[in-house]
Structures are given as structure tokens and as C-alpha cells.
Symmetry: C2
Subunit: 226 residues, 2 copies
């Protein structure tokens, strides 16, 4: 049986858009592992009871059930050591870029695209999503993104650490991508799969890196519905 | 002959305050290497002609002359592989945190403390420093820092990626410090050695980390004149 990856989608089971699911999807590809995508929607927590977890991604590899993208990356390196390494034996060295991504890039993208998500959701997920996100932001979602064009320059400026890194090497991992790249790329795939907003300017080194990431593994990410 | 490290100082040759010199000083300590500090002042570029470089730090290890803190870290790992590793064989993995530090932490600290530096400098260095920094900031240095108390909360907020990382592990390198810690700590030592401004609140996880760093190697950094 191939590996199974439970992934967040909306009405369209092909349109996988969780940034954390994208990390795991790309991690499986980097390991050269075939997998079956199991569509999962917000509120379907019962369907994950077998994993003792209430969020995706969840990886099933034979008898092994691994919830959480961070644990999945570590599991894949342990179970498939011959394939290109994700964390190079030092998961602790990837905590900082994950923390930066999760406190700068991901919330920054959220405030630019969150109002584009509701139209993609089925009715049950829609109610959950809008209520929980309006509570988080303290306002209607249309209001969160109302001035998004004006906020794009500040978002792009906050990516300067990526830009400086990519001036020295083609990937955050160095000459080849590793889990650092997948963490940040996952956030950009979230945006790509739900929104038409152009986050990056075409002459930005971050744009060029994102293009390289979209090309990996035969264009796996580029081909995804968006 | 012990190793020599050319380091930036002001009137007092003991008060070493360059963030890049602090990276190399701590790197030597992490390797357990004794070294002689050679005081160097702004404008003394001729004294570095032997290194083909015009800035400190410069490391001299017998016949080897290594300028630039980044090159010094790589050199130390190559020349002293048995000692605790700085870059764990993957310098490329440290580019991002260096880029983040150099584009967020270090300029952030600069705008808070730059006006505290001139009183520490001798006359020749003073003229160079004030002219070059006023050109960089486009205003008198006293004006750069005039509202610094009001800007402290924003500076502290920008350290959130450190805070999240340190919630998961005691050092940026994991259970033990590595070059990631030294990069960021160097910026904090710059501030400590020139300014009385309290950058961090006492209950901040970043403050606790800085205390751990100050304690390393018998309190090497804590004992430094400040």
C-alpha cells in the first residue's frame, strides 16, 4: 500500500492549500516517495481520531501513523535515510527559520489573502472557518484584506532575510533545497492555491527562488490546482 | 605563538565592541583556543594591509591569515575539527539567521544605540565614525536615537522568532550553542559594550538566553568591559 497523506482541501479535493500540508507533500516528493492524497476538510476531526490528532497533515505509512508536519519531516529522515535529507540530522537547526516563517511570513500572507479562502469551502467548513478567523482577526475577513495592495510593500520588505540568503546561494538549504526551503515555500503555496494576489514582484530574488521551487520534482507544485 | 585576533576597540583597548569581532571571539572560545586580542581602531586600515582586508576581525593563526568573521568560523571548523563544531559542516544552513540578524537585529540595535558610541572613540576614529554614520542615517546621531525608548517595544516584537525558537530549545543551535547563537549574541554584545540602554525585559526568553550566553566559557562575555 502506498503512503497516505491526509491533506486539507475545500470543495475541490485536488486543491490542497494548507501550508503545513504543502511542507509534508514536498517532503515526500524530496524523498522520492509515492503517496495517496486523502482529502480532509475543516471540521472533519472525527476522521482523524485514529491518529489521536485533530489537524492535518497526518501521514500513514503502513502501521505507522504520524501527525504534524514537523514530526513527519523527522520521521521521513529516520525511515528513509538514503533519500536526500530534509533536516540533515539536526532538526534543532531548523527551528529558527520555522519560527520566523510562522511569525512573519505566514501571518503576513494571512492578512493579505484570508478573504480569498471562504469561496473555496463547502458549507460546513465555511461556517467554522469564517467564525474562527473573524475571531482571530477581530473583524470581518473582507475588512482584514481591504487595504492589502497598500500593505504589499511592507510584506515584501519583511522578506529581506530571504533575499540576502538567496544572494549567496540558490536555496535556503544551500546548493539544494532542504526542509528550510519547504517551510517557507509551504506558506507561498498556501497563497498560490487560494488567491490571485501577486505577492512578489517579478524581479525579486524571492520570486526567482519560488520559481525554482515550483519546478522541483517535475513541477509538482506548479501543476497543483490554483 | 598563540592565535591573534584583531578586534575593534575605542580609546580603551579592552572594550571590544564590534558585533563581528564578538562572533569570532566567542567562536575561538567555543573551540577552546587561547588567543591574543590585538586592538584595532577605525581608520587604521594600513595596519590590516598584511591581510589584504580593511576591516576587523582578522585572525592570525601561525602562517594563516583569515579576515572576515564568516571565513574565520569556517576556518576554525576546518582547522580544529575535534572541538565543538560551529557550523556542523553546513555553513549554508547558517546564512539565513545571519541574514535575519544583519537585516533586523543589528540595524534595529544600531538605531537604538549609535549615539552612545562616539564618546568611546579617540579623535581620529571619532571623525570617521560620526561622518560615516550620519551619512548612513541621514541625520545627526543624537537625532537617530532621540525617540529610542518609544521604539523599544517594536524592536522587542521583532525578536519574536528568537522567542519562539527558545521556547523549544535552550540555544538557537539546540541543546548547545553553535554559530547561530554567536551571530545573534554578537549584536547584543555590541549593545552591551557601548550602551546602558536595556534592550530586553527581564522576563523575556531572549533575556534568559542572553544570560546563558554571557555565562559561557567561564563568563567570558560577562566579564568584558561594558
Amino acid at each position: 500500500m502506498p503512503l497516505q497523506l491526509y491533506e486539507l482541501c475545500g470543495k475541490d479535493p485536488q486543491r490542497v492549500f494548507s501550508p503545513f500540508c504543502w511542507r509534508s507533500r514536498m517532503a515526500l516528493a524530496q524523498k522520492g516517495l509515492e503517496f495517496e492524497s486523502v482529502p480532509w476538510r475543516f471540521t472533519e476531526t472525527q476522521r482523524l481520531a485514529f491518529a489521536g490528532h485533530d489537524k492535518v497533515p497526518v501521514l500513514v505509512d503502513g502501521d505507522r501513523v504520524v501527525p504534524d508536519s514537523w514530526a513527519i519531516a523527522q520521521y521521513l529522515d529516520e525511515a528513509y535515510p538514503a533519500a536526500p535529507s530534509l533536516l540533515h540530522g539536526r532538526p534543532s537547526a531548523y527551528r529558527f527559520i520555522a519560527a520566523w516563517n510562522d511569525s512573519v511570513v505566514q501571518p503576513g500572507i494571512g492578512r493579505l489573502i484570508v478573504s480569498d479562502i471562504p469561496p473555496l469551502l463547502d458549507e460546513a467548513a465555511l461556517g467554522y472557518f469564517v467564525a474562527s478567523r473573524e475571531k482571530r482577526y477581530g473583524m470581518p475577513l473582507a475588512q482584514v484584506t481591504a487595504d492589502r495592495e497598500a500593505r504589499l510593500p511592507a510584506f515584501r520588505a519583511a522578506l529581506q532575510p530571504l533575499r540576502l540568503t538567496l544572494a549567496a546561494q540558490p536555496f535556503l538549504g544551500g546548493e539544494a533545497p532542504d526542509y528550510a526551503d519547504l517551510i517557507v515555500f509551504g506558506s507561498f503555496m498556501w497563497a498560490r492555491c487560494v488567491s490571485r494576489l501577486a505577492l512578489l514582484e517579478a524581479d525579486d530574488a524571492v520570486h526567482a527562488w519560488r520559481e525554482r521551487m515550483l519546478d522541483l520534482h517535475g513541477g509538482l507544485a506548479r501543476r497543483a490546482p490554483c
